[in-house]
Each structure stands twice: as structure tokens, then as C-alpha cells.
Symmetry: C2
Subunit: 411 residues, 2 copies
């Protein structure tokens, strides 16, 4: 009988308890032994619930019990989660977490600590919720060099963009619906709509792909606030959807990554990923393209991924880290360089369409013009970051403000 | 240093050698030791090639060498592969294979034999080529009950159906192109176009999902020979693509499975899977829907999946079988029952459209009518297998021949 503890009894933590009970027989068969939740750490009062006896308020109670071999961390954030997870690993417990902020910030350190103490540190649920992404990725990695990753990894913004496209609504209206449905935070939806959540996830996938820690603060991150209903329509006229893409690729100057809304041609597998679904496309040198698709969030899907990690920790322990591992790297200021050279959608406020098209040069196409709003948009020929900046500056000299720039992904 | 042997130096076998060499450093890091191909078994003459020294013609040479711990089987078929794999497992070697025919026919027996001898029997590459499907499936399975699987698992027929849809061509023209491009066999393309290849793959996935062996010969299997350009057009008018779907689901009388062309609504993730790509959708009780997508074949993708299995065998050995396992089952004659109740596209030769629509009853829609050919097609309301048979018989009594029946998948 394996005994585990759950830290934090919120949505995912309570889902872990539910999954462990609902599928107890199957879990026992696969783990080679029954798995029982012995403790739940939470500072709130659960004394009136049927599971009151499981609750403790002090991590020491859990660490003092040698029966507990695996700890699930579902507190979220880093303030409590990070020191707690450190102490669990140092005490010889494997840890399974859904906490992307902690993994994106302290992943390399916690992986090294786990290896040092001969235990596992697993975090499948930190990207894609219940959808298996990290496990197949490091399994693929065994015989592949993954040189690029592109993903729709934030369900809230994908839901909003889907609504905006299907119903011609603007950002504010879509956000309101997402908030009403509980997909977006009411107080501060910024983690989702400004791309920080996606930035943490691509930091994790990028770190795993390149083998050293990428810090979220070095990843250029742009959300979807500037995308309008007119942009969605213009994108459709180009045979594209607008999606918030988190990307990683090996550039000439080392690993590069970003989060930004992009034009995704309808022929690309990511264009058809709608609503709260997530999908991650990986390019392996031997394998070509593979895509993993599923619901990116939700109590039971996410919890089932955490429980699969618990089973993995019980069965395989530290040996997982031969493939699920990356090295620490120094913190440096500044943003990673952007090596992409691709066509860009450029919407400018304050310039006429003919002028903008002329500015953008040979090969540019006028996509739309709204004379009443004095706004126009072009699709440029392939440009790199420097050429795009130069174009934006030329427009500024003529009195035009670049209101939105979207790269176009390949088919 | 781990030493391995490759049985069969065809497309996949030679790919395994290439992957092992190209990504030697990464493979060594993940396997915890370098991996070297020490022997290649093939009856053909490779004495003039740079690797001539590796070739042997007798399995005994390999089995007599205690250095060899993992054997890769890429012969294909069952005549030689099956007895060779048995001998390898019995001698205490782990086996990694891409051979779906052998796994679909003898999977339970070989898994049990491997467990008995404390070695691994792995076959990620047998479904989906290089796309990770079996590994994430049994990883998901650790905390989920998978009750349904639907997949596009044959790249050749998917390429043909994509061509037929995009260019309005018929089956024969599409087959000719597939043969010219090397996607379909020239002599006998039946394994692909009649659905037998897909039947073997769904037998493997279904066995893994339900935990006992499903035999391909019990799985009702229908290919794409009867699908015409007119059907593709009619499907499009219903907002659907026609895809060859291999499906598994738990029915009221136990596991059910089938291979057949189906109408796939454009909103379904499988509708946009085109050309030689494969995709498998799984429904877990906790997880909801997940999809794995990628190239279903090809030398290096498939070989990289075999090599990932080799790494897994070296690292995890027999413990993989706690989740990658199914029990033997008795061979029985007959076909598995079909529990699906869904709308069906029914094309009938020899009946007018009005008559056919009337026959199909309330809720049926006439989809197309070709008076010159005396052919019409309807979309029925949801029907089960018995009601569909009854409808086909009623049409026959009136002189109509049911030329094609396609179930419609859910959105």
C-alpha cells in the first residue's frame, strides 16, 4: 500500500482525491500496489466534511510519517509551494505537481534536488492540463532532437479568440463571456489574456527541448488585448485564424521562444483547435511533426494527469530523470532574440492603405482599409525582426502608429 | 555499453541503424549508456556495404552472445518474426517491434512470455508509425478508464480520400497516384484499401484499452473501395469528410470494434487530418478527449519510435508491463457486435430519391439523386445496426441495392 499526501485542496487537489477513489482498482494494478491518500494539507477548515480526518495544517506532520512516499503539490504559486516542495524532496519524497509557475521558475533546481535525493519530480499536468504532452515529449526525445515547438497552451484566450472569430465580437465582449463562464479570472485576467500563463508553459517545454532552464522573464510575451474583430475578419480573408501561439525554436544564437497572437493558416493543424482546447505541435529531427491535443484544463482531466505521475513515481522513481531533466542556467536580463523570418500582418492607425502598402514594399498586399477609422492593414513579404522594426519606424515617421503586428505561421 | 541486434534490414530496420548513429549522444544520455547495433540479421547479401561486418544469417549467432540485451524485430509478417521473437524473449532478451500483424495476432501471448522471462516486449511503432500513441495511452490509462478510441490509422487510404475530396477523383484514380508515390502496394493494395492494416491497429489499441486480446478476424472490417467521387461531394454538402475510421468502444455486450469509412463532421478533430497523417482520439473517463496526431509511417519516424522503445527497455525493463499489458482471450468465430446508434448515409442503386426518402422514414433527408444512374442517397435519423439492416432489406424488396452505408460520427 502506497500512502500519499496532497498539499492544497483546491480544484486540482480535490480532483486528485476523487480520481484516486474512482479508479482505485486500475491505479492499484498499474502502480503495483494500492494508492491511498493519507494526508491533505490545507489551512482552511474542512472539519465538517466527510474527509475531515485526513486534513492537517502543518507540513511537519506529513514529513514525520515515513509511510508517505509521494507528495502531490496543488497549492499553486510559489510562495508556499516552492519551500514545501523543496522540503518534501529533501526528505526523500517524490513530488508530483500541476504548478506551472513553480516549474517554470525553479524547475532545474527542483529536478537537480530530486535527482540528488534519489526521488522523482514530475509535472505532466503543468502543461496541457490532462493532455499528455510532457511524457510523450520526453519519450520522443529519447530518439529525437526536438528543434521547434508551437502550441496553443492557454484555454481561456483560445476560447475568447474562437468566440471573436465565430461571432464577430471584440476583445471586451469575449472576455466578459469567459469571465461569466468561469474561464477567466474576474479580478485580474492578465495572467491569461496577457500571455504570462502561456509564457510559463513554453518556458517548461523549451527547457525540456533544449536541456537548460529558460526563464519566463526572458521570453517576449504578448497577449491578445490588441486583437480586434476587424483583425479576425481580415485574418479569415487571408485563409487564417488568429491564435495565441507559444513557440520555441533553436535559433542561430541558441534557444528562442515567445508568446504572441499569430496568423495560423487553415491548413495548419493548430488552426482548427477551438474553444478551451489546447494543442502542442513538436518537430523532431527523425519524427517530423507530431501534435498532442486535448482539454487544457478542468478538475478531473488535470487531476488524472497528476495521478498518472504518482503511478510513474511509484514505479519508476528517479530513473525518469534520464530523459525528463534539464540543467540550470544563469539568470540574465533582457529578452531572447527572435530569429523568425516570416510574412507579417501589420495594422496601422493613421495611414491610408495605398501609403501603407507602398511603405511595406514589393510583395506586400493591402488586406483591409477603413477610411472612417483611418486604419489599414497589409500582409508583408517575409521579414525578420529587424526589418519589421524598421518598417514600423518608417510608418511612425509618416504619422502612422503600428497597432498590431502578427506573424504568419507556416502551413 | 548496451548492445542490440536488428532482425530484418528493410526500411524500418535500416532506419533504426541510422537513428542510433545520428542521435547517438542523446540516446546514450537517456538510456544511461551508449547503445550500439552489434548484429543485423538478414538473409540478403549485404557483403558489399560498409556495415557488412554486422550482418549474420542465423539467429543463433545473436542468441549465443550474452552481450546482446535488446533485439529489434523489423522483419514484418508472422512467419519468421513470430518464432524469432519467441526465442528472443525466452532467451531473456527484451524485444522492440514495429510489426502490427504479429502484435495483433500474438500480442497477449508475447506480453505474457516477456513478463515470465522478466524482459520487456514493446511495440510503440506498430500503431501510428513514429507518432507516440501507445505510450501516452498506457500512461493515461494509469488514472483513466478509456472507453472509446477512434482513429485514422492508415496513411495510404487517408491520402487517397484526401485526393478524392480535393480533386473530385474516383477510387481508381486515387489508388493509381498512391501507387505511383509508393504509398500503396502495386501488386496487392488490399491490406490498406480493404482495411486489414487498420483492423490490426485497432485490435492492438482495443486490446490495450479493454485489457484482453481482441483478434483482428473478429473485427468487422470494410475498406474504401465503394466510396465514389459523388459520395465525397455528398458528404461535403452535409458538412462532413469521408474518413476510414478504426474504432473501439465498450458496448453493452463487452468490447466492440470496427473499421469502416465514416462521415466525419468538420467540427470533429479527425475531419482535418489529411494526406498520409494519422490521428487517434481517445476518450478517458477522467480526461475527456485527447488526440495524438502525426505522420503514420515513414522510415525515420517509425525507426525513432522503435529506438525510443529500446531506450525504455534498457531503462525500465519488465516494469512497463504493469500498464502495457493485456490478458489472453479465447479465439471465437464470428464478428463482434456493433452497438453504435447513429445517423447513416445510405446510397442505393435502383431506387428513386423520393421512394428512398420515404422508405428511410421520418427525419430522413435526401442528400443526392442522380436520375441518369438511377441512384439516390439519404441521411437517416439515428439507427442501430438492426434497424439499418431492416432498411437495406426493405430497399432490396423494392429492387434497390444498398451500394454504400456510412455512419456519421459525432461532432
Amino acid at each position: 500500500m502506497a500512502k500519499i499526501a496532497i498539499l492544497g485542496f483546491g480544484t486540482v487537489g480535490s480532483g486528485v482525491l476523487e480520481v484516486c477513489r474512482c479508479n482505485a482498482a486500475a491505479i492499484a494494478r498499474r502502480a503495483g500496489q494500492p494508492v491511498e491518500v493519507k494526508y491533505i494539507l490545507d489551512v482552511r477548515d474542512f472539519s465538517a466534511t466527510p474527509d475531515a480526518a485526513l486534513f492537517v495544517r502543518d507540513l511537519d506532520t506529513i514529513l514525520a510519517d515515513p509511510e508517505v512516499t509521494v507528495v502531490v503539490e496543488t497549492i499553486g504559486g510559489t510562495r508556499f509551494a516552492y519551500p514545501y516542495v523543496r522540503r518534501c524532496l529533501e526528505s526523500g519524497r517524490s513530488v508530483c505537481t500541476s504548478n506551472k509557475e513553480m516549474v517554470a521558475t525553479y524547475g532545474a533546481e527542483l529536478l537537480a534536488l530530486a535527482r540528488q535525493h534519489d526521488v522523482a519530480f514530475l509535472f505532466e499536468a503543468s502543461v496541457g492540463g490532462g493532455t499528455p504532452i510532457i511524457t510523450p515529449m520526453h519519450q520522443c526525445l529519447a530518439a529525437n532532437h526536438i528543434h521547434a515547438v508551437q502550441g496553443i497552451v492557454n484555454g481561456t484566450t483560445n476560447f475568447m479568440l474562437t468566440k471573436m472569430k465565430a461571432e464577430g465580437m471584440g476583445f471586451d465582449a469575449a472576455l466578459k463571456i469567459a469571465q461569466e463562464l468561469g474561464y477567466a479570472e474576474t479580478k485580474d485576467p492578465g495572467d491569461d489574456v496577457d500571455g504570462r500563463d502561456a509564457g510559463r508553459k513554453i518556458a517548461i517545454l523549451g527547457s525540456l527541448a533544449c536541456g537548460r532552464h529558460l526563464y519566463p522573464e526572458n521570453i517576449p510575451t504578448r497577449g491578445i488585448r490588441d486583437v480586434t474583430a476587424a483583425d479576425m475578419k481580415a485574418a479569415a480573408s487571408l485563409g487564417c485564424a488568429v491564435k495565441l501561439i507559444a513557440w520555441y525554436q533553436e535559433g542561430p544564437q541558441g534557444p528562442a521562444a515567445g508568446v504572441e497572437p499569430m496568423l495560423v493558416p487553415e491548413g495548419n493543424q493548430l488552426a482548427g483547435v477551438n474553444d478551451v482546447f489546447n494543442a502542442v505541435l513538436m518537430q523532431g529531427d527523425m519524427l517530423g511533426d507530431v501534435v498532442f491535443y486535448g482539454k487544457g484544463a478542468g478538475k478531473l482531466p488535470t487531476a488524472s494527469a497528476v495521478v498518472a505521475d504518482v503511478v510513474d513515481a511509484l514505479k519508476n522513481g528517479v530513473r525518469i530523470h534520464d530523459s525528463l531533466f534539464w540543467a540550470p542556467s544563469e539568470r540574465r536580463p533582457g529578452l531572447l532574440a527572435d530569429p523568425m523570418c516570416c510574412a507579417r500582418y501589420l495594422r496601422v492607425q493613421g495611414l491610408g492603405g495605398a501609403m501603407l502598402a507602398q511603405l511595406a514594399g514589393a510583395g506586400a498586399t493591402l488586406v483591409f482599409e477603413d477610411s472612417a477609422e483611418n486604419t489599414a492593414a497589409v500582409l508583408t513579404p517575409p521579414l525578420d525582426a529587424a526589418a519589421t522594426d524598421a518598417l514600423v519606424q518608417k510608418a511612425a515617421l509618416l504619422g502612422g502608429r503600428a497597432a498590431l503586428v502578427l506573424k504568419r505561421l507556416a502551413e
